[in-house]
């Protein structure tokens, strides 16, 4: 087990990539705090981990709210005694160009995707510094590396996540804290059909567009979870400040 006796906090852990990662981390021996806004789903994920013999707890968190972030970190440390791994995964997406994107939608995407990463890290880092090390993984996107259509706030927020990752890696490397981000391509999560509906596209037509990449398919949440596990474990002990694209070749061409 590659995360034996580690304590991990996963934001947006109630569905999709966050849920898959929380479950995989627990399988690999980590005690996991599942954080998110949806209390019912979050408790279900934690219960499923516990029923499989793992350790998990749910912490209701809106990562836009500093007090929530502070409480998520504090409750994790109170429940499990320390904090070794933070996966900043919570994210939202509304497909709009700059003309159509409302100010509220702009703020929400920047606040959840980017400011939430800052706030969670701000409160988690002091624990990691005191412990003498830790790992932070941020969920960026292929659209944090290249632009996409009708996604201005999402691209801006995810590009921000890539460079926030690098800046934090520089600041905290000497404290034994590694900070990397993962850049998924289109992944089979609830976010995809939501985006199809938002764009007013038929699911089959939308999915065919998503699969149009060298590997000819979309990814699974599990495939991203495995990348996050690599970055969370000692297998990546010389990696910090990196952006790991997991996108079936979507950003290769």
């Amino acid at each position: 087990m590659r995360l034996k006796d580690k304590v991990a906090l996963v934001t947006g852990g109630t569905s999709g990539i966050g849920e898959a990662t929380a479950v995989l981390f627990a399988k690999e021996g980590a005690k996991v705090a599942v954080s998110g806004r949806n209390e019912q789903r979050g408790r279900e994920v934690a219960a499923r981990i516990v029923n499989h013999g793992g350790h998990a707890t749910f912490v209701r968190t809106d990562v836009r709210v500093a007090d929530d972030c502070r409480r998520a970190v504090d409750e994790t440390v109170r429940a499990f005694g320390r904090l070794d791994i933070l996966f900043n995964n919570a994210g939202v997406f509304y497909a709009h160009n700059a003309v159509d994107c409302s100010e509220e939608e702009w703020d929400q995407q920047i606040d959840v995707n980017l400011k939430g990463t800052f706030l969670m890290s701000k409160f988690a880092l002091p624990h990691m510094i005191t412990q003498g090390g830790g790992v932070i993984i941020n969920n960026s996107s292929g659209w944090g590396l290249v632009g996409g259509d009708n996604a201005v706030a999402y691209c801006a927020s995810k590009g921000g996540v890539v460079l926030l990752t690098k800046a934090m890696a520089i600041d905290h490397g000497r404290q034994g804290i590694r900070i990397n981000c993962v850049c998924p391509g289109d992944i089979d999560t609830p976010m995809l059909p939501e985006d199809a509906r938002f764009r007013g596209l038929k699911w089959g037509e939308y999915l065919a567009g998503c699969a149009d990449r060298p590997m000819g398919r979309i990814g699974t949440a599990d495939e991203i979870a495995k990348a996050v596990l690599f970055l969370a474990s000692d297998d990546s002990s010389f990696m910090t400040g990196a952006a790991l694209a997991v996108d079936g070749g979507g950003t290769a061409d």
């Binding site: 596990l229 400040g241 990196a242 290769a252």
Partner: protein, 257 residues
């Protein structure tokens, strides 16, 4: 616990020393049968013995991977004796620390042939094998200096930049065949090649290594740490990863410290 390369065959160029050797040992521990191609016969045979002593399977073929005939011999022997090729690690590489004005044409040609052309020569032989088998994973060793420039390293930077884009181009072409092609960009790693750079530059080794450690993690990497990255890209853990540049450099490229 299941081994992540159980039943797989991996072919590693430059596998007799440094990153290639560490990767051969790790892949064998993870269940792969390993074929090593390298110019250094004595060092290559030593790796074969080390892996055999640990109960693993390894063969060595003396080869200059800049020669098409040598590559063909390596691939054919691997297929004959190990029964397939699921993972190709194009890792052979050399460095010449010189600016363009200092660099001889011979050195330019040699670095480009070892670092870049060998990947083309090996890959064009192995890709059809992988395509017939329904897929595979190719990993190329690029460098942090394939993404940003460095002093007195003109041909090395040119060669490694080429490796990065050759990786992406092959990923685009062969993704439909379920062949994943990725590269690793190591930062300064504690190998004989790193120490040779100090000599080429006429610098004291200790001072050169201290300078190399100036990065967010405050140290150079180990060959084993690069091997772990290669293992991730070789195994099914990276099943949706292709055309990717995996930077393993202690944070050096994240920005200025």
């Amino acid at each position: 616990m299941t081994k992540s390369l159980q039943g797989k065959v991996a072919l590693i160029s430059g596998g007799a020393s440094g990153i290639g050797r560490a990767t051969a040992l790790l892949f064998a521990r993870e269940g792969a049968a390993v074929a090593i191609a390298d110019l250094n016969e004595a060092a290559g045979q030593a790796v074969v013995h080390e892996i055999s002593n640990q109960g693993g399977k390894c063969i060595f073929e003396s080869a200059d991977v800049t020669r098409a005939g040598d590559c063909k011999r390596v691939v054919e022997r691997t297929l004959r004796e190990l029964g397939g090729i699921h993972v190709l690690f194009n890792n052979a590489g050399i460095i010449r620390r010189a600016s363009v004005t200092e660099l001889s044409e011979e050195d330019w040609d040699r670095v480009m042939e070892v670092n870049v052309k060998s990947i083309f020569l090996m890959s064009r032989l192995v890709l059809p094998v992988m395509a017939r088998a329904g897929g595979g994973s190719i990993i190329n060793t690029a460098s942090g200096w394939g993404l940003t420039g460095g002093a007195k390293a003109a041909v090395y930077c040119a060669s490694k930049g080429a490796v990065v884009l050759l990786t992406k181009a092959m990923a685009v072409d062969h993704g439909p065949q379920n062949i994943r092609v990725n590269c690793i960009c190591p930062g300064d790693t504690d190998t004989a090649m790193l120490r040779s750079e100090a000599q080429q530059l006429g610098e004291a080794t200790e001072r050169f290594l201290a300078e190399a450690a100036r990065r967010p993690l405050g140290r150079v990497g180990t060959p084993e740490e690069i091997a772990q990255a290669a293992l991730y890209l070789a195994s099914d853990a990276s099943s949706f990863v292709t055309g990717t540049v995996l930077v393993v450099d202690g944070g050096s490229l994240a920005g200025s410290i």
